[in-house]
Symmetry: C2
Subunit: 389 residues, 2 copies
């Protein structure tokens, strides 16, 4: 049999928790993940020996990193598209391509492209002035949203406007903006799929995502009470987008569930928070699947391993209180079946520092357990009390 060196090497630009969890999956496939990290203390840089320190906005750093990799992929959307295109032109395998990734980087380009395909997106418009904003608001009604065309995440780069004057400060910043209607929705969903260069694709069950102040706090798999035909629509939508845009790797499609059907909110082309539950909850995790896809290996089985799976993000709590070691001790005693994932990140109030996953037969029970365990890590208090903190 061949030597281990014969296995292809994946390099991931960015070394946050997504790269950290991808490294866990890479180990099983016989290799260490290489990461381009900003700092030795980045979540993934703490756990893999394959670390290069560099700046993902520097083409030279990216090219030096790509030199040791058979394929380069990303744990975030912030690498300049022209650098990605230049890496590919220089002969490096890059997945997803600059052409595909553009639609996860640029909200305007995404809406234009998906709208052009006849897919359901909210009403939107590029805006540059107070008059533009007022005119769009008159069309779609208030409140409405302003979004930075590029660079936003976790609620950053999104502003809710109650009236035209609320736009003044954002407009003064002179960043490229789009305005968007506020969609009346029942809840948010996510359809996550993976696609290989060969064109094979696989879809995980559609999930419900629960947000708090623009940050995902809970993911419920499968989405409770979702009619089969809507779930199928969502999966087909995500698979169609993956195919039309030529995505390679994981594609997460964030959706609004509305009275008039599904509406596309955002795209991400990398492992995504809405599929962390797949580590224990699906036969193939999104991290393993992303590696398989970018390596052009056949994709793994995406089926659920339990009837109900709930992931809850662990956010940094108020300063002070007992340490993480003691919190973990109590969590393990109280919920011996809940799976803990800590990212090795310093805690700041509201920062994502880990997640927990619970599995079982009854979604309400599973959800309560996941919620309580995550709240315990955040507040070190019982959930009912924690809510009052």
């Amino acid at each position: 049999m061949a030597q281990p060196g014969d296995l292809p090497v994946v390099g991931m630009v960015g070394a946050g928790q997504l790269a950290r969890m991808t490294h866990q999956a890479a180990i099983a496939l016989g290799q260490p993940l290489r990461v381009l990290a900003a700092d030795r203390s980045d979540a993934a840089a703490l756990v893999t020996p394959g670390v290069q320190i560099g700046d993902y906005t520097s083409y030279d750093d990216l090219a030096a990193f790509a030199q040791g990799c058979d394929v380069v992929t990303f744990d975030h959307e912030h690498v300049p598209g022209e650098h990605i295109a230049a890496l590919a032109a220089a002969g490096h395998e890059v997945a997803p391509s600059a052409a595909a990734l553009r639609y996860a980087q640029d909200k305007r380009a995404m809406r234009e492209r998906l709208g052009g395909l006849g897919l359901p997106v909210p009403r939107w418009s590029a805006v540059a002035s107070a008059d533009d904003v007022a005119a769009f608001g008159a069309l779609v009604g208030w409140p409405m949203l302003l979004k930075a065309q590029t660079g936003g995440y976790d609620g950053r780069g999104v502003w809710m406007l109650e009236r035209p004057d609320d736009a003044t400060e954002v407009l003064a910043s002179r960043i490229a903006l789009i305005a968007e209607e506020r969609v009346a929705m029942r809840r948010e969903l996510a359809a996550v799929v993976a696609r290989s260069p060969f064109g094979q694709a696989a879809a995980w069950p559609v999930v419900e995502t629960v947000q708090d102040a623009g940050i995902c706090v809970e993911v419920i798999a499968p989405a409770p009470g979702l009619p089969d035909e809507v779930a199928e629509d969502a999966e087909c939508l995500a698979l169609r987008i993956a195919g039309e845009l030529g995505v390679v790797g994981v594609l997460a499609v964030e959706l609004f569930d509305t009275d008039r059907g599904l509406v596309i909110n955002e795209l991400a082309m990398r492992p995504h928070n809405s599929a962390h539950w797949t580590i224990e909850g699906a036969r193939t995790s999104q991290f393993e699947q992303h590696l398989r896809a970018v390596l052009d290996y056949p994709l793994g089985d995406p089926h659920l391993t339990a009837p109900a799976v709930v992931m809850a993000n662990v956010l940094g709590g108020p300063d002070g209180g007992i340490g993480i070691d003691e919190r973990l001790h109590h969590l393990m005693a109280r919920w011996p079946d809940v799976k803990v994932h800590l990212y090795g990140k310093a805690s700041r109030p509201g920062r994502k520092i880990g997640h927990v996953t619970a599995l079982g037969d009854d979604v309400d029970v599973v959800r309560a357990r996941a919620r309580a365990a995550a709240d315990w890590l955040r507040y070190a208090q019982e959930p009912a009390l924690a809510r009052a903190v």
Copy 2:
């Protein structure tokens, strides 16, 4: 909340596949595993940045390694007991202790101790001469076994004797030996448990282990057709041994299933090949459980995640043929639900270089899939043909 640095650090002496898979579990708990490796190319040293190169038989190397760790544990039994005792005397946390580990290091001490507790061990005797061997053979019958008192594993240090003369060469080596009856058995089982310093213990379901030439090739969880009372006996036996010997961490008890009941074969006090299936097949893997135990955290839920789970070891095949990358590609296409674990080790005929795990409802189907996938990685041929190679 506390900083990541507040989490206790586990150091593992030895950097083989057991440390490699323990590192995967440590990442989820918020930390990198530190390993004392013989070489940078050791399986675990390839995937963690926390590597110290050193000699596990050198007290100075062990003490330097222990300096940076909150607790020191082991991925093999070969660290001299006096060094382990000295580390503890110097104030380092070490788990398991030298006093407990002795019974996994020394087959004679183990048999004396367990026999003294009234637990079922094969008939055995210390032997030093041809006369000793002949006398023991006359008592228990032929064939019988000679075993090195210390240092054996995977069939090494074990000799089957058909007649007294077969002992001549082994006796000439002057290593300390015991003779043991050859137990007439139906099959081999393993009862794997974990115990924390606090005294909490948890047992995984009893498994059947299938050996080939002294090497474990398959593990079937739970052991098919095992009567409930026998399974309970085996679990109680393992829990009693863990308690009596003061084991901290994982304890694997290898058992013979015989007409006269269970008979204890060997002990291991570390993650063990007979529980690799727990990574996907149990709510808490043996690697996470070992970390929880040595850190004196509460133990995790050991329940099965599927009705039938089968692990098959991947052994190095004959030299030549297609590379591991291509083998992996075919395996993934053919068995998209089978989980692959490669250890990053160079292949040599018969060497354990990885394992695969299959899960499902029907043990026969699951077993056939695991067997076929492992054989494919070894031989790059369909199983029926592979057998003929």
